[in-house]
């Protein structure tokens, strides 16, 4: 069975500073990787995904994540955060063989301070 670990439960960061959210997964077969964001009092929104191809994927709002197979990681980064990036971020994996259910990490709460 696959599992996902997000090492940081909370990350405080100042506005315009960079941020990195760590995600490591465990699986014996190939996985597909996702980052979801949950803004306060809202549902889960897809931020970005890795299915195949280039190991560096980007979102439209400046986030990027890099798939590293040897380290089984999919860390999320943003070079300069905004107040509006305050949210909880969830890393998730799926296996095609498992019928596409998502297995989530515990989430990282990002608090951007002015």
């Amino acid at each position: 069975a696959q599992s996902v670990t997000q090492l940081d439960s909370q990350v405080p960061v100042f506005e315009e500073a960079p941020v990195e959210l760590r995600c490591n997964y465990s699986s014996s077969v190939s996985v597909y990787l996702f980052w979801y964001v949950q803004y306060p009092n809202q549902g889960l929104q897809l931020l970005l995904k890795y299915l195949s191809g280039s190991t560096l994927v980007e979102s439209i709002n400046g986030f990027e994540a890099e798939f590293n197979k040897s380290q089984t990681s999919f860390h999320l980064r943003k070079p300069s955060v905004h107040i509006s990036d305050t949210a909880e971020y969830f890393c998730a994996v799926s296996l095609e063989a498992a019928g596409n259910k998502l297995t989530f990490g515990g989430g990282t709460r990002v608090l951007v301070k002015p």
Partner: protein, 117 residues
């Protein structure tokens, strides 16, 4: 792509009562999922539903849970006899593409907060 809508947004019920949570997909996709998030814990998979049948279910999805798509549109999760530990946020999701399982992303609804007293 548009997400799903869920009703109600918040449901308060007494222990032992039955609740039905509803999910309405914006477009006609074949794969649907239910997840739950107990306060302060991980988002957990409950069940996937394909072509009007359960495709996969987790160990959490025991006999007190059931899912159906009674009118070909709404997708419901029923909890027959609620327990205090069923208090959680319940999310419905749909796959990006219809047809057989493919490793595409899922789109989530805003969730229903269930409070069991």
């Amino acid at each position: 792509e548009p997400e799903v809508t869920q009703t109600p947004s918040h449901q308060v019920t007494q222990m032992g009562q039955e609740v039905i949570l509803r999910c309405v997909p914006i477009s006609n996709h074949l794969y649907f999922y239910w997840y739950r998030q107990i306060l302060g814990q991980k988002v957990e998979f409950l069940v996937s539903f394909y072509n009007n049948e359960i495709s996969e279910k987790s160990e959490i999805f025991d006999d007190q849970f059931s899912v159906e798509r009674p009118d070909g549109s709404n997708f419901t999760l029923k909890i027959r006899s609620t327990k205090l530990e069923d208090s959680a946020m319940y999310f419905c999701a749909r796959s990006a593409h219809g047809g057989k399982p493919v490793p595409y992303e899922q789109y989530f609804g805003p969730g229903t907060r269930l409070t069991v007293t």
